[in-house]
Every structure is written in structure tokens, then in C-alpha cells.
Amino acid sequence: MSTTAPVEDLTVDHEVVDTTLSSRSRILRAIAYAVLGLISLVWLGTAVDGGTAHLVFDGHTVGLPAKATVIVVGIVILAIAAWQGVRGFGRRATPWAAGIAFLLFMVAFFSWVSTQGTNPAIDVVGLLQNSIALSVPLILGALAGVMCERSGVINVAIEGQMLAGAWAAALVGSVAVTWVGLFGALAAGAFMGVLLALFSIRYLVNQVVLGVVLNVLAAGLTGFLFDAFMANDSEKFNQPGVLGEIDIPLLHSIPIIGPLFFEANIVVYLTYILIFGVDVALFRTRWGLRTRAIGEHPKAADTVGIKVLALRYRNVLIGSAIAGLGGAYFTIGSVGGFAKGITSGNGFIALAAVIFGRWSPRGATAAALLFGFAIALQNNLSINTHAIPSYLLAMLPYVATIIAVAGLVGKVRAPAADGEPYVKQ
């Protein structure tokens, strides 16, 4: 604790990882790369029968010689593995190496998928669009988790907050205008946040227990109120419409990048702002320093005059409202109507993203994107190939999170006071 507290400008967890990168974890990472390379070279290399892979980028089809692609990718990843094993990558280079290896592997993988069965063309941009669409609520949920847990309150109730937000967005959007539903979602998320904050901070209820109970409560209440109002009067109470797509001038006409990031609805743009905002606020502002202080060592924070409980209340409320916004994406952000259990476990995936992303906004966002990509990939593969059961692919985010918390790829450490109620002596 004493080693991490004074570090201000760096994300604390990254610092921890880099200082403890032992030869053991260097070797482990090298093995991970090697496995990836060998899968590409040996398994995909033998499975691909030498046709042409078709990858579609924004309407333009790129033909790749499948076999050669797979083999070249395999060799390059093995080279990365060798470098990692012998020399290791520096602090800056590590994410690049991982990113390049991952990207290359996906190219090889899609080359293989494209030569399967009906020889489908892989719509890469479409896949990425789906990934982002699936990631948006995960990112918002994960940011909610980061906000709460950085200030020392465990938030297992992300699912419930999202569900409440989704419900309220549909109701308010129907009664008023679609976009007003966003405020309904924020309010409903914050309402769940009030319960979380009140019971955990004031009544000192175990926060995990509380989160689980709040999830049940949210599922029950939204289901009850859905049946009581929306199910019978759907044109009056459950037709909020869908938020319109806003094309950002100029930016949206950039090829590939444009349709990926700049042709979306307001929730997506709010997500961009929130990712940036939470990250900057948490690590570069007085509020952020205080938040991290009450999450790591509330007593010390209290002695220097920080109002621990008030700040916790505030952060939990803001965080829960963000989760509510994430819920709005399920109703007014995409399908335009509420259904029971519409969030279908996304809150728990968001929780996994918080942990996988080591309680940092950037990490959580990256994890959420990865999980969103895994889900999109699973949807895509279930259409294009039956060689990999989509259910097994769907397990990947969860297995990855288990591996991460088990410390097999670097130590994952929660804020020290996360989940511990603070009682002034």
C-alpha cells in the first residue's frame, strides 16, 4: 500500500504490474504467444485447404491467399513469442506486441473461417460495428463499477442498475419523447444507487450480499411493473422509439473509422465522453485523488479532512446513474422497447470487465471492448461455421476473467478498502 499511495499520475495497477514482471511471467507470456502462433501455424495451417479468403472492409472485398496468410501470421507470432521469451518487451511495447499478435491472429482466424463451408465473405467492419454496439453498455456498466469500487463500495448490482435504467428509459421515453428517456434511465440507475449507498454506507450491509439482493429486487420490480403497465398498454407505455443516429460531420465520412465510431446514437457519444471524463477525473483531478484515497485508505483520507462517507455517497450515485445510462442503450438505444430481463447478464460481464481491467477506466473499457468483440465474434461464427461451437466461444470472457483473478497473467489487486464500510472511530 505504501508503495502505491504516492504515485499520482500513473495508473497504479500498471505500475504494480511492471515492477513485478518477473522472469516467470515473462516466460508465461512467451508461452501464451507461442500457443497462439502454433495454433495459427499448425492447426489453422493444416485446416485451411488453400482457397482464397474474402474479407470485406466497408464494401471493399479483399482477397487473401488463405494458406499463405495463416502460415505467415503463425511465423510472425512465433517471432514475437521468441522475442518475449528472450528479451521481453518494455513498458511501452508490451500492449503493442499483444495488440499486433491479437490482430494478426484474428486475420489468420478469419482466413480460416472464410474458407469454411459455403466460403463466406467475412464482413470485418460489420463485425467490429457489432462489437462496439455490444460493448457500449458493457463499458458504461464497467465505468459504473470503477466509480463505485474506486471509492470503496463494491458494486455487484450493476445488472440491477442497468435493468432499472432500461425499464425507466422505455417508460419515460414512451410517455415523453425518446431522448427524455435518457434522464429516466439516469434517475432509475441513481435510485438503485441510493439503495446501494444507503444500505452499504449507512447500514453497513455486506456489499456483495446487498448487490445480489438488489439485482433480485430490480429484476422483480421491473418485471412486476412491466406486467402491470407496459405489457397491456404497450403503445402507451412501451413504445419509446429508438434514439436517432447522429453522423458527426466530416469524421463520419472517413473510411472504416467513420462508420465504426461516428455514425451512432447519443448514448455512444456519451460513452466516449464518459470514458475520457472518468479516466481524466480519476487520475488528474483533486476529486480523483480523493476518490482513490477513500478507496485505498479511508482512515488516512479522513484524517486529512476528506469527507469519506459524503464522497462515497456521491460517487456511488454518479456511478449507478452511469450504469442506468448503459441500461438505456438496451431499450431506447437499440430495440426501442423493454422486455423482462433485457440486460441478460450484461451487468455481470461488466463486473468482469471491471476486474479484468484492474479497476482502471481504460483497462475496464479495453476489457469491455474485448468481451463485446468475443460476443460479436460468437454471433458471427454461429452463422458462418460450425467447426467451433458458439457456446464454447461464449465462455471465453468468463474464463479469461477467472484466469485474470487467479493471477496467472499478472497480479490483479482491488482497491484496498473496496467493500469495507468505513465507521468513524
Binding site: 469500487e149 470503496g152 463494491i154 455487484v156 444500505f199 447500514y203 453497513l204 450491509v205 455486506n206 456489499q207 456483495v208 450480499v209 446487498l210 445480489v212 439482493v213 438488489l214 439485482n215 433480485v216 429486487l217 429484476a219 422483480g220 420490480l221 421491473t222 418485471g223 412486476f224 411493473l225 412491466f226 406486467d227 402491470a228 403497465f229 423482462k340 447478464g345 455481470f348 460481464i349 463486473l351 468482469a352 476486474i355 461451437p389 457456446y391 464454447l392 461464449a394 465462455m395 470472457p397 468468463y398 474464463v399 476473467t401 477467472i402 483473478v405 487467479a406 493471477g407 496467472l408 489487486r413 482491488a414 482497491p415 484496498a416 478498502a417 473496496d418 467493500g419 469495507e420 464500510p421
Partner: protein, 410 residues
């Protein structure tokens, strides 16, 4: 104290142990009862809001308020009456004079309570050792998969087949729970996180199995497994027309075993010691890591039993929703039962009754009402200070799970 709540708060001194013990038990019972009543009252408000007639009459509330109250009262009365009819005793069906007419509702309550008791015991045992097993869902699924697979794939003589299938289910659940315990013991990975993740792994694994030939039932159109052999099914207790099955006896037996284990056995003492204060237990020479693995094996096996009673009793072919929310309801059962086996049995019966009554109640109010009531009961029990504030009771005792108030790193 040790029988009413997992652990005493170290801050509260214990003057005059015997007298205090009695008042503590009384206090616990009172808070539980008041939590239940408060939850029902809030539920009643929801029923009134959901009732169309009440809502419509509210528009002329200023002119004729009597209507609103009359309609609201009628809606509330009918809803809770239907809940009672579905769960305990229904005079309408009893008038047929058949055994089913009299005992049908009770049979449904017991059938629903069976897996809840087993699951509640599982969560409760883990609580006592200081662990929060949130992975009931996954353990129930894996237990059901093991039991179901043995149930339809093997063909053994009557009796032996049932025993084999039950044991397989216990092993399946124990493996899935033990995995989380092992991860905690070896790497320190928090059990809440790993069990949540293992839930989803299990759900997807089940989804996969239900699409595989040999597991899925022909003609392979639906996600349902082969039906369990009749040799491997738990016998029905009250004849063919009622669903209550011998799984209930297994759950009760499990409650007795857990009670004995926690109260009299050395292992139970060790588990409780680890739960109360791991550092002290370690100093006393107990292996905390080993305890984590053992308790998660036990907890998983009990969830496996819940899966067994689902797949060999209630619903003898595995489907995608074989868990039907029991994994999470078990947590509420354990909290209501204060992590104590006797309390868990009663809590399981209560929530089983709520589940059994909800189909009949659905004619009057959406059946999520049951879920809301359940959540509210547990919320109030976890925060007795709220109930004390509402009913102006004296402050004493501690909340369930207070000993677990620690973070991800703990």
C-alpha cells in the same frame, strides 16, 4: 448467539450469557417477522398500484376516495389469498374431496422448497466459513448435468441406478464448487468473482451439451436432454398425482448432516473458526486454505443435491433453465435462515411456498411480486437497523453477513 447468526460482533460484550441468548433469539425472530410483514406491506402497495380498477378510481380520488381504498383492498386481499391458496390450502380444490385437492398446494410448496433448502444449506455452510458462494447456479447446473447424464446414459437396476445418479450429481456440484475453493486457496482469487464467472461457464457448457448428439434428445430440434430412466428417478412421496418427491427427504437429511457437522464435528469447528477469524484460525494451527477447499466442496455438493432434486425429481429431463433461479434464490434462503440449518429449512419452506403460490396469484398480480417480496425480506433482514427504526425497537445484535463485510482482497 452461535446458533442465530454466523458470528458475534466482537464489539458487543455478552453480559449474563444465558439470558442474553434467549433475548437474542427472540430479537432475531421478531426482526424476521417484522421484515416479512414490512415486505408484504410494500408488496400490497405495489399490488394496489398494479390494479387497473384502483388506478382508474384514483382519478376521482378527490370526489370519492372510498372507491380507491375499496378496490385496492380487494386487489390486495385477492392476491394474497391466491398466494395462500396456491401454497398452503385451497378450499376450492379441497371441496372436490380428493387427496390432491387437500394436499396439492402443500405438495407444490414442498416440491419447490426441496432444491431451495439444499441450495440454502450450501450458501449457508459457505457463509459460516466466511465464504460467499454466489455460484449456486453453476453448481446446480453441473450437478444436474452429472446426475442427468448418469440417469439417462447408464442403465442400471432400480435402486443402484438412483444412488449412482444422486452420487454423480453430488460429485458434479462438488467439483464445480471445489474449483472456486481451490482457486481461492491457491491463488487468492476472490470466490465471489470466480463463482459468478463459473456460473456463466456452466450455463454455456449446458447450452453446448444440449446441442450435442448423445446428450440432446432426438429429434434434436429442442434444447432438451434425453429423459432420465425411471430407475434413476426419485420416487414420488404422495402418489402419482402430486409432484413432491424423495428429494425432499434428501434435503432434510442434508440439513441434519450440516447441523451435526457445524455443531459437533471437528471439521465444523474448524470451518466456523476460519469463518470467524482466519488469522486466528491460522495461528491456532488450522489450515485456512484447506478449509476453503473443503467448504466449497461441501457447498458445491449441496448445490449438486439441489440439481439432483431438479433433474431426478421435479423435472426429469435437463433443459436450459434447469436451475430456474434456484441458485440465486438459495442466497436469499440462506440469509433468511441466518446461515443456520434449521432456519434454512424454514426459510426454504417459506420461499418454496411463495414460488408455489405464484402461478395462482398471477391472475391478480404479476408473479414477479414474489421476487420483490423475497428481495425485500432479505434486504430488511440484512439491515435490521431499518426495521428497528421503522418499528422503534431497541438496538441490539448484528446483521447476518456482517462478518463478511470485507473486500475483494480479503
Amino acid at each position: 448467539m452461535s446458533t442465530t447468526a454466523p458470528v458475534a460482533t466482537p464489539e458487543t460484550p455478552a453480559p449474563a450469557p444465558a439470558k442474553r441468548h434467549r433475548s437474542q433469539a427472540w430479537d432475531t425472530a421478531l426482526v424476521t417477522l417484522l421484515s416479512f410483514v414490512t415486505a408484504l406491506v410494500i408488496g400490497a402497495i405495489l399490488i394496489a398500484i398494479a390494479d387497473r380498477q384502483t388506478r382508474d378510481s384514483f382519478q376521482y380520488f378527490g370526489h370519492y376516495p372510498g372507491d380507491t381504498f375499496r378496490f385496492a383492498w380487494s386487489a390486495i386481499w385477492h392476491t394474497y389469498q391466491a398466494l395462500f391458496y396456491g401454497a398452503v390450502y385451497n378450499p376450492n380444490t379441497a371441496s372436490h374431496g380428493t387427496l390432491v385437492g387437500y394436499l396439492g398446494p402443500i405438495s407444490e410448496t414442498l416440491t419447490n422448497a426441496t432444491p431451495l433448502i439444499a441450495g440454502g444449506l450450501a450458501v449457508g455452510v459457505a457463509f459460516r466459513a466466511g465464504l460467499f458462494n454466489i455460484g449456486g447456479q453453476g453448481q446446480i447446473i453441473i450437478g444436474a448435468v452429472f446426475a442427468g447424464f448418469v440417469g439417462f446414459h447408464w442403465h442400471l437396476p432400480a435402486g443402484i441406478h438412483l444412488v449412482a445418479a444422486v452420487v454423480a450429481g453430488l460429485i458434479g456440484g462438488a467439483l464445480w464448487g471445489g474449483l472456486a475453493g481451490l482457486l481461492k486457496a491457491r491463488t487468492g482469487a476472490h470466490e465471489v468473482i470466480t463463482t459468478i464467472m463459473l456460473n456463466y461457464v456452466a450455463i454455456n457448457l449446458l447450452g453446448y451439451l444440449l446441442s450435442v448428439r448423445g446428450f440432446q434428445a432426438p429429434p434434436y430440434g429442442q434444447a432438451i436432454a434425453n429423459p432420465v430412466d425411471s430407475n434413476a428417478q426419485l420416487p414420488l412421496l404422495l402418489g402419482d398425482s402430486m409432484r413432491v418427491h424423495a428429494g425432499l427427504l434428501l434435503s432434510i437429511a442434508a440439513a441434519v448432516v450440516v447441523w451435526w457437522l457445524l455443531t459437533y464435528s471437528r471439521l465444523g469447528f474448524r470451518l466456523r473458526a476460519v469463518g470467524a477469524n482466519p488469522a486466528a484460525a491460522r495461528t491456532a494451527g488450522m489450515s485456512v486454505e484447506n478449509s476453503y477447499v473443503v467448504v466449497m466442496l461441501i457447498s458445491g455438493a449441496l448445490c449438486g443435491l439441489a440439481g439432483v432434486s431438479q433433474v431426478l425429481g421435479t423435472n426429469p429431463a435437463i433443459t436450459g433453465d434447469i436451475d430456474s433461479g434456484i441458485g440465486f434464490d438459495a442466497i436469499t434462503v440462506a440469509l433468511l435462515g441466518r446461515a443456520n440449518p434449521v432456519g434454512t429449512v424454514f426459510a426454504g419452506l417459506l420461499f418454496g411456498g411463495l414460488r408455489a403460490g405464484s402461478p395462482l396469484m398471477q391472475a391478480y398480480a404479476p408473479n414477479e411480486l414474489v421476487q420483490v417480496i423475497q428481495a425485500l425480506i432479505v434486504l430488511f433482514i440484512a439491515a435490521p437497523a431499518v426495521i428497528r427504526a421503522i418499528f422503534r425497537l431497541k438496538t441490539s445484535g448484528t446483521s447476518v453477513g456482517a462478518d463478511l463485510a470485507k473486500g475483494w482482497n480479503g
